[in-house]
Every structure is written in structure tokens, then in C-alpha cells.
């Protein structure tokens, strides 16, 4: 095992303009927000983002002009309503939004994780989402060769980079995610490169005490960066809860056309005038 501890800057360098990215967590829970802010600071362009139910992570990158395409099952701010930048830029035609439905997106990750070109799923038949997915070539109706049952083949989704925020890892990239995993393990196995930001780097000895708690072994992980509060304002279980007040502040900034000031204050951290 060799150390994969890297600087934040180096890890962000693994993301090229135009890359296909997915993030760990779901809505306001354990999204890799500080890494997302770093991508904004580095002025990344033309990213394609894919995930089943993201929220502020995607909307922030969209609002900062880093995104060309998004594919999601749902992109909203839970009970707070619509994702403001996603809605605005999609309606203006400034981003391409391709809705995918949660199960096909998860199945696409699972296919890539299993080294398969596609994976069949049930459901979907009769939905206009299947029609548009067949047009873009992400889903296709097939028949099971044994029973003749109609199913939907979902094309494998292999992100260039999966970025996951976790609670702990050792320097070699053995990662311990505490609590709900969402599809983080599947996404990591599906992606070409995996960047994990963690609340704290722990010793390899600590990891060896409880191997059943290791959710990603080192050979799947390309970079580990210690980023305390790396999910903020989303939650990181056992460390901090979601800051719902901050999320409402974000929404107000986006609604009042003061989003640039929000970016200055919380992303670029420039002094406001």
C-alpha cells in the first residue's frame, strides 16, 4: 500500500474540464461540498453531473457556470422547493437537463461497478422518461432471452471521477463511511478515479482493528484529502448536522439575485465591499 494522501489542490486537479462527475451522499447529507467549492474556485467548465437525488452540490456548480449537462432522478431542495440555478438555467437553455429516474441511474452505476455494458431494470415502461432516454441512448427496451419478459436495459455509467465525503480514512485510502452509504460504494467502484475527502485521517492500525467497518478498500481509492467540515452545510453523521439555515440563506441569495455575493462570501471568501 502506498500513501494516497494529497493536497486539496492536487485532488481537484484530477477533475478536467468536460469531465463526467458524480458525488457521494444524497440531497443535504454528506455531499462533498468543500470539494465542490474548490471546483468553483478553480473555474472548472463544461462538467457533466450525474446522480439520483443531489441538491445544493449540483445547484452550486450550475449557478457558478461550471456545468454543461446534468442527469438526475430529482434535483430539488427537499421541502424548500426548487433548485434555483438548475431551474433558471434549464429554462433558459443554458444547461442540458436529462432526467433519468433514480433506479436507472443507480443501475447504470451498478453495471459499471460490475464491469458490464448494461444492466436490466423493471418499471419505466409507459413513462415518457423511457422515450427520451431511448433517444439519448441511455436506456433501451429489451426482452429477457429466457422468459421474454420486457425489461429496460440501462447503459453503464462510468464517471471520470467520483467524489465522496466520508468520516474517516487512513493514508492509504481505506475509507470508513459511517451511517447510510447511499450508493457511494457502488459509485466508487464504477468511477475511473475516486477522490475521498474525510473529516479525519486515522492510523492504518485503527482501520485494522475493525475491517468490517471499512466501506472502501485502498485499491479503489485514488486520493484522500483531510477536509474537516468538508460536507458543510450538508450533514456528516457523527460530526455535524445539516445547517438548514445556511441552505435557506443560499436560496434567498439565488432568489434575490445576490448569488454572486453568496459566492464571494462562502466560496471565494473575498471580502465584500
Amino acid at each position: 500500500m502506498k500513501s494516497v494522501l494529497t493536497s486539496f489542490e492536487e485532488a481537484a486537479g484530477l477533475v478536467d474540464d468536460g469531465a463526467l462527475l458524480t458525488f457521494g451522499g444524497a440531497t443535504f447529507q454528506r455531499a462533498p461540498m468543500e470539494f465542490v467549492r474548490e471546483l468553483v474556485r478553480r473555474g472548472k467548465k463544461n462538467l457533466t453531473l450525474i446522480d439520483r437525488e443531489p441538491a445544493m452540490d449540483f445547484d452550486l456548480l450550475i449557478g457558478a457556470g461550471c456545468v454543461a449537462k446534468v442527469r438526475t432522478g430529482m434535483l430539488a431542495f427537499e421541502v424548500f422547493g426548487m433548485a434555483p440555478n438548475f431551474r433558471r438555467k434549464s429554462e433558459k437553455g443554458e444547461i442540458i437537463a436529462k432526467e433519468g429516474a433514480c433506479q436507472p441511474i443507480i443501475a447504470g452505476f451498478r453495471a459499471a461497478a460490475m464491469g458490464l455494458p448494461s444492466l436490466p431494470v423493471k418499471g419505466m415502461l409507459g413513462s415518457d422518461l423511457l422515450t427520451i432516454s431511448e433517444v439519448i441512448g441511455s436506456q433501451k427496451q429489451i426482452e429477457d432471452p429466457f422468459t421474454g419478459e420486457k425489461m429496460i436495459a440501462v447503459k453503464a455509467i462510468e464517471p471520470d471521477v467520483a467524489v465522496i465525503h466520508a468520516q474517516k480514512a487512513d493514508e492509504f485510502g481505506n475509507v470508513r463511511i459511517e451511517g447510510p452509504l447511499y450508493e457511494d460504494v457502488i459509485k466508487a467502484k464504477a468511477a475511473k478515479k475516486v477522490v475521498v475527502t474525510v473529516e479525519e485521517v486515522v492510523s492504518a492500525g485503527e482501520i485494522r482493528k475493525m475491517p468490517e467497518a471499512t466501506t472502501l478498500p485502498h485499491f479503489i481509492v485514488d486520493a484522500v484529502v483531510e477536509v474537516p467540515k468538508g460536507a458543510y452545510p450538508c450533514s456528516c453523521m457523527n460530526y455535524y448536522d445539516t445547517d438548514y439555515d445556511h441552505i435557506q440563506e443560499y436560496l434567498q441569495a439565488a432568489a434575490k439575485d445576490t448569488f454572486e455575493q453568496y459566492l464571494d462570501k462562502y466560496v471565494y471568501r473575498r471580502e465584500s465591499k
Binding site: 443535504f28 427537499e78 421541502v79 413513462s127 415518457d128 420486457k150 447510510p180 447511499y182
Partner: protein
């Protein structure tokens, strides 16, 4: 007494009533009413249900809800974690009995739209997306749609985009699966030969005519239409205790 029950609490109770004991039930994102409904069901008539949280906990002891239905605090004292992909596996096996889904538009056949208002190529309004709707709607034995604004703009003649499949967009095999709609005015289902929407019960303080006026198509009335059952004070107190901040009001603004 009945006129004192708030609409969200009536809806929570109506949604809880759709769960039977020993059912396996899942809720998704942005779902304060389903979380409360599942919590009420488990503490009243369905103590043996399998409760799968969108936050991934199994049978959690919910002591309060939050603006996110994935908040890990919703997994308090859970017996296990069960990921969404595992819950979807269960659904494909036909072993997920009940799911709760939303809708920005719903039509007479039960098609739902959560994708776009206007055309998909050039949306007038970009909606959030259907999440699991297109996957779960046809294959789940019972899907409960909740709609907090029963108006002709939501209950439309034809949806702009079919996100979730109604009865005219399903295979014969999937037509046996039920859709129940719980709105702020009443409870609707599709239990008639033509499989079109009918009023099954009306919430106290509302009328069949009011529902008809606020529906954008000719809605049928079930022969045994009645009044929606009202939760007793213990259940109302339970809902208040779990949601002291009124998160459940958020969809009614």
C-alpha cells in the same frame, strides 16, 4: 371537534390508513407527510409493518422530522440500514407493498408529471424530476400519491409529460396495482371498470362538488363515497410531538 383537525394532519392520517399491518413500506425524498403517515401507522394499526426510510434506516423510532427526509437523525434507533438500491431490488421482486410519491400534475388515468410544464425540449417550467416515480408506479402493489393543492392546475385533463404511469400507460399485469390519491380535499382511487379517478372520501368541511369544481376533468364519484376518517386526539398529539416545527406545513404555503 372534527372541524378542528388541520388539513396536513387529516392527510397524514389518510396516508397512514393506506398501510396495512405487515406491509413493507418505503418513503422517498422531500416526504414529511409520508414520514409522519408511516410513523402514525406503525404506532397504531400497523405495528408489524417493515418501515424502510429514505434515510436508509429500517424501523427507526422517529422522534421528530426535519426539512430533509434523508436526515440521518430520522434513523434513530433503527435495527438496520437498507440502501435505496436494495429497496429497489425488493420492489422488482414484488415485495415492496406501499410507496408514497408526489405529483405536480395528475390526470384522470393517474398519470403523474414531475418533469416539465410545457415541452420537454423547451420547458416552460423545469420541475424537479420524478425521482423513483417511473420505476415504482407501475410495479408497486400500492402507490399513494399525495397532493397538497387540489386545483384544476394540478388535477388536469392530460399531463404535459408522463413521468409516472397511469392506467392507460400500463401493461395488463401492472393494471392490478393500485393508485390512491390523497389531496387536501379528499381521497381518490381508480377502483372502477374504466380505471379513471373517482372520489372515495371527502375530508370534513369539504364537499363532492368542491372537489369536482377543483378538478380539471370529469371526476367520478364512488358509489360508497363517504367522509374521510378523522384522527383521534392521541394521533394528532403524536403528529405534533414528532413535528413541533411544523415541517409538514411546508407544502401548503
Amino acid at each position: 371537534m372534527t372541524d378542528k383537525i388541520a388539513t396536513p394532519d387529516l392527510m397524514v392520517y389518510a396516508m397512514a390508513s393506506e398501510i396495512e399491518n405487515f406491509n413493507t413500506v418505503l418513503h422517498g425524498v422531500s416526504s414529511p407527510l409520508p414520514v409522519l403517515g408511516m410513523s402514525v401507522a406503525r404506532r397504531t394499526h400497523a405495528p408489524d409493518m417493515a418501515y424502510i426510510s429514505g434515510a436508509e434506516g429500517v424501523d427507526p423510532e422517529i422522534d421528530r422530522i426535519y426539512p430533509s427526509s434523508f436526515d440521518p437523525r430520522l434513523n434513530r434507533n433503527a435495527v438496520a440500514y437498507f440502501g435505496l438500491h436494495e429497496a429497489f431490488d425488493l420492489a422488482q421482486r414484488g415485495e415492496l407493498d406501499v410507496m408514497f410519491l408526489g405529483a405536480a400534475q395528475i390526470d384522470r388515468f393517474g398519470n403523474t408529471n414531475l418533469s416539465v410544464i410545457g415541452k420537454i425540449e423547451n420547458p416552460k417550467v423545469q420541475l424537479p424530476g420524478g425521482a423513483a416515480s417511473a420505476f415504482l408506479m407501475p410495479i408497486t402493489p400500492k402507490v399513494v400519491i399525495w397532493a397538497t393543492r387540489h386545483t384544476y392546475r394540478v388535477f388536469v385533463e392530460a399531463v404535459d409529460f408522463v413521468t409516472g404511469q397511469g392506467y392507460n400507460n400500463r401493461s395488463e399485469a401492472c393494471k392490478k396495482n393500485k393508485i390512491v390519491v390523497v389531496s387536501n380535499l379528499g381521497v381518490m382511487n381508480f377502483e372502477n371498470p374504466g380505471r379513471t379517478m373517482q372520489i372515495q372520501s371527502v375530508h370534513p368541511g369539504h364537499t363532492v362538488d368542491e372537489i369536482k369544481e377543483n378538478t380539471g376533468f370529469d371526476i367520478l364519484v364512488a358509489p360508497d363515497v363517504g367522509e374521510t376518517p378523522v384522527p383521534d386526539q392521541d394521533i394528532v398529539d403524536l403528529i405534533d410531538r414528532i413535528d413541533p416545527d411544523g415541517v409538514r406545513q411546508s407544502e401548503f404555503h
